[in-house]
Symmetry: C2
Subunit: 437 residues, 2 copies
């Protein structure tokens, strides 16, 4: 598990004044991403307050040595895959050195100022070239909420508490925050219809998830043991697994979701590193007395003690009318990331137990994270009972699923007593009308 | 649809004498791959008889100009993604020029001889960096054969004849012929067992499929119309979707196959190009009178007339005892690739109809291709009735699923009256024991 060190000191403040008290990016965060500016190609960067520090320039600044320099050099290109391949050591060294350089009292403020760009002038890109994207189903209340709609007396399938259920998603259609959410066309068949029709999805939904960035990963044929799995988790992001429920219902038997999901997945652009998240690690919620104990390849006491994350996750919506009326987005709910039945380490151990390889820059989704009640559910499918119970927004508008023009925002905030909270940045998307067919 | 031109002339022979009468690689084939030799890095190549022509050297030879030269340059690196991105024009120009250069009577034989390597001295690699791998379920007799084991009266699910069913596979574990088939460990639960156990799969199976190499593909948000889909199919290969049936049965609800499949997928290393396959295009088998007509986005008359492939597909097995006794592999069956309910173009149109992007070098699997009877089924699950009816090999050995040491070989051969048959090359793998756990 990553260490808590001086970089997490709550007394630490930065000479980058916007960082102090920043909701997302105080000096205790220092997340990794890829950005570009008007005249320069994409390269690695670190968010600090309202600024982005250029890791390519930092590598040439003379301020870094050893592992920290190696990390910056590995982060100087278009993707962070080379950095994630290095594992936690160089990443931590870079974090420590940047924390010193950005802290109040740094002797090198003058040089470091030359490495900073206004975030408003930066375009953010996917942090890695995603070779593989796998989406899990570890949010147990989501599985229960959805299962109850189909099997009221027996909502969880028999394998759920034994197997971390997952499937392969489409890596090529993962995009960072802000990407257009084009309503997909597809086949859908109403339960009472004889034949399917083709056209715009009428049941477009969100799914609130955490994304897990992998590094360094394993060779094909060499499983990652549960006790080692945490060291292959480079960091987290927010992930919206946009879902067309009508397409999904018609296509998913017997091989799982496909076109209902692969038209777009949106992630927040910053990798909130395992190191930054160290103070927010918490105990995995105890299993119920009648829950099965997982098989040994999924079980590690240290992972149970510290494998969960103290992250508050929220979903907000802003309709076109709310935008016209200059109303702020409306919070649909907030819930904790501890509503996951499996830890991130268990997902990694399971994914590789058959020898499947994970590679630097791969992305795992946790599955939708929901609360047992309606206070923080991660999909409209749950909140509206499969579209049967519309929700009413504060301005009187109602929704079952997403309407064209709706903007959907995911937010995440790591919180722990005695530590400065850190945020995940934006994960938003606005629905645009389907292409004419 | 690709044209039939002088490169397909059955009278054409090559000064590369092993090409004439070669089962796989006569001068009418000229498949594309990536190879390396002892002292040189991987680069594009073309198989001709028992030789491989170096496309990187060909690009520097002065023998190519225009589109053919552009194609060779695009094929000079470690992957053919840049070549596939160019589409059919440059690929065809290269084919025509190489056909001239390799034909008997070429004036340039002396120079071209310097571009050739003995295939026995070459290591073959994946022809592309596979960004996305999707596996379909288009083999209708496979779907029926498997469905009957679970639902004797109603073997096909209601969506089957409307939706080309598919799911995302794992691109990172695709390997070329010869890769070790390490028996995967995983969770499996016998129907009468209370809880699952973890250990080696006891029901390791093959799946005989065709692979479809994509190029150039589409941008996210821009579907490929059915009438254009064929131009995005760069070529075909053989594909073995190794499957652990016991893992699959326990894990696949509700999100589809995952660890049961992602430990390995084997492909034949040569891209049998769309151009080479032109003479073997044939009519898609007529649908039954009571089959639904596909929705318009999946329907194109030209595709129905020429969208299928006249390819004979075979599965062969060689057990350790057969190897010891110097016996040749035993043919388990042979069947035609026309046993697919959907054409390759329909798979492409469906995959992109929601805006999902396909990219150069992506791989699609057709799904297991089986005959209605036992003469050419593509999996042991079918041939042994779910493991209940062992098969007996000529030497008296029996099998339900694959045993350690078994070698499995897929073969493919395109056949059409009046044309020289072309083959797909090797797609083989040998099962090795599971890792100790």
């Amino acid at each position: 598990m990553p260490l808590i060190d001086e970089t997490h000191n709550p007394a630490l403040t930065s000479w980058v004044s916007s960082a102090n008290g920043h909701a997302d990016f105080p000096i205790q965060n220092l997340p990794l991403g890829v950005f570009s500016t008007r005249n320069e190609a994409p390269r690695g960067g670190v968010a600090i307050g309202d600024w982005v520090l250029d890791l390519a320039k930092a590598g040439r600044s003379g301020l870094l040595t050893g592992d920290a320099l190696d990390a910056a050099i590995a982060a100087s290109g278009r993707t962070l895959n080379p950095l994630l391949a290095l594992g936690a050591g160089p990443r931590r060294a870079l974090r420590r050195r940047l924390s010193q350089l950005l802290a109040n009292g740094s002797d090198d403020q003058g040089i470091v100022e030359g490495l900073l760009y206004h975030a408003a002038d930066c375009t953010l890109h996917l942090p890695t070239t995603i070779g593989g994207y796998t989406d899990f189903y570890a949010g147990i209340h989501h599985a229960l909420n959805v299962g109850r709609q189909f099997r009221p007396d027996n909502p969880l399938l028999p394998n759920y508490k034994h197997v971390p259920i997952g499937y392969h998603g489409r890596a090529s259609s993962v995009r960072v925050t802000g990407a257009e959410v084009r309503r997909p066309n597809g086949q859908r068949k109403a339960p009472d219809a004889e034949v399917p029709t083709f056209g715009p999805s009428q049941r477009l939904d969100l799914e609130l998830e955490l994304g897990i960035w992998i590094g360094p990963g394993n060779e094909l044929g060499t499983p990652i043991a549960i006790g080692e799995a945490d060291s292959h988790i480079a960091g987290l992001c927010l992930l919206n697994d946009w879902s067309a429920r009508d397409l999904q219902a018609w296509e998913y038997q017997p091989l799982g979701p496909f076109l209902a999901k692969n038209f777009l997945t949106t992630v927040s652009p910053w990798i909130i590193t395992a190191e930054a998240l160290a103070p927010f690690r918490t105990r995995q919620p105890a299993r119920a007395a009648d829950d099965p104990k997982p098989l040994p390849y999924l079980w590690d006491e240290t992972d149970q003690e510290r494998g969960a994350y103290g992250i508050e996750l929220s979903v907000l919506i802003r309709t076109p009318r709310m935008r016209e009326d200059k109303q702020a987005p409306h919070r649909l709910g907030t819930g904790p990331a501890t509503n996951l039945y499996w830890t991130a380490a268990q997902l990694v151990a399971h994914h590789t137990c058959n020898g499947c390889d994970l590679n630097p820059g791969d992305l795992l989704g946790t599955g939708t994270i929901s609360t047992p009640d309606d206070s923080g559910v991660g999909s409209l499918l749950e909140l509206t009972r499969g579209g049967k119970a519309p929700i009413t927004l504060p301005n009187g508008e109602t929704r079952t699923f997403l309407a064209d023009g709706d903007e959907l925002i995911l937010a995440g905030r790591a919180v722990a007593d005695g530590y400065v909270s850190i945020g995940f940045g934006n994960c938003r998307g606005q629905v645009t009308p389907a292409l004419n067919v």
